[in-house]
Amino acid sequence: MAQQAVTTPSKTPKRGFVDSATNSRGVTAVAYLTPAMIGILLINIFPILYTFYMSLTNRNGPVRFAEGNYEITTREGSTWLPDFANYTRLLSQSDFYIVFGKTILYTVVCVFFFFVVGLTFALILNNPQIRGRAIWRTLMILPWAVPYWITALIWKFLFHGQYGPINQILGLIGIQGPDWLLNGTTAFIAVTIVNVWLSYPFFMLILLGGLQSVSNDIYEAAEIDGAGWWRQLFSITLPLLRPVAIPSIILSAITTFKILETIWLMTRGGPVTRVGEPGATELLLLWAYNQGFQGGQRFGLVGAFSVVVFVLLVLMTLAYTRVTNANRGVYE
């Protein structure tokens, strides 16, 4: 603070006056910042550090683990676990890798459909011959406006085996629909459909914006060269959409990766086909939630899990900023 006062050219010759003025300005700034800082510390920083602390302690509930051989050995009179027992336990557990693989599958499938569905509708809505494009666009964006939990509950009812309209409509064309949420594979499909419903408007908007910045001249030139529709799509449209598409793909991959409430409200991670194994839709965070709060109370383990996932997501976020920075370099 004092250094700043010296280096900044001052209009008043009296140094003492300048010092006190900048000091009081500094005090004011700190006073303004304090409430926000306290909030951030209490709400963001403290829980993260506390989770990290818990992941090193013996805070696992009385319920035994499925195989029953996880004995926690603590030092005398200490709650600290030796040898990062929670981490080694987590990373040597086959459930974790099953859940992890399933989550990656889910993310890939979801993001693929986000992109394909979003791109399809963006291409159609970008066609100037379609009438009433504003109305179509508004109707298509509506799913985005519905809160997640309401969506989840609506779809839970829609997928109901007997009362759900989806099965009733299928019944009209003579198909006996399955009990969607009670069967492993169909529950996974249902959860994917819901997530696509929730997220494709985002992609549609982003890609539509990207499409509108593509100049028509390029297409005309391609047409003179005799390129067909598919050729134009793959050689012109998709490469030119890249700077818009890749950041949004990474972003939605991150949000899909840590999806929790939508699926939890629909299936609670079930249906469980075999006792002691993760359910069909029990993705990464759902699994952790169920380990922590649904009977298991293995908070130490969940803490370790959170730290692992946190590191993964940080890596993905770094990749994201890298990609966007690379693009910025190209386009500026």
């Binding site: 569905v117 399809t120 509708f121 291409l123 159609i124 809505l125 066609n127 011959q129 379609i130 179509w136 109707l139 298509m140 509506l142 799913p143 519905v146 309401i150 969506t151 609506i154 779809w155 009812f157 829609l158 007997q162 009362y163 309209p165 009733q168 409509i169 019944g171 009209l172 419903w197 408007p201 028509n216 297409y219 005309e220 047409e223 529709w229 134009q232 449209t237």
Partner: protein
Amino acid sequence: MTKRMGPTGMLVQYIILIIGVVFSIFPIYFVAQAALRPGNSLYSTELQLIPANATLENFRYVLTELP
């Protein structure tokens, strides 16, 4: 894309659009019409997209009787 679409191309595009709009609107519509259904007629095993005996009773209940 600049090429003028033939009538079949346009038709295909409109059909895809309509499917998309049905897909995105249907859940919202379903909730809206479910709000108008009387009693527990929502739990019927027959498909009913337009509520019979539509009523605003549910709204009255929510606005006046729920604490």
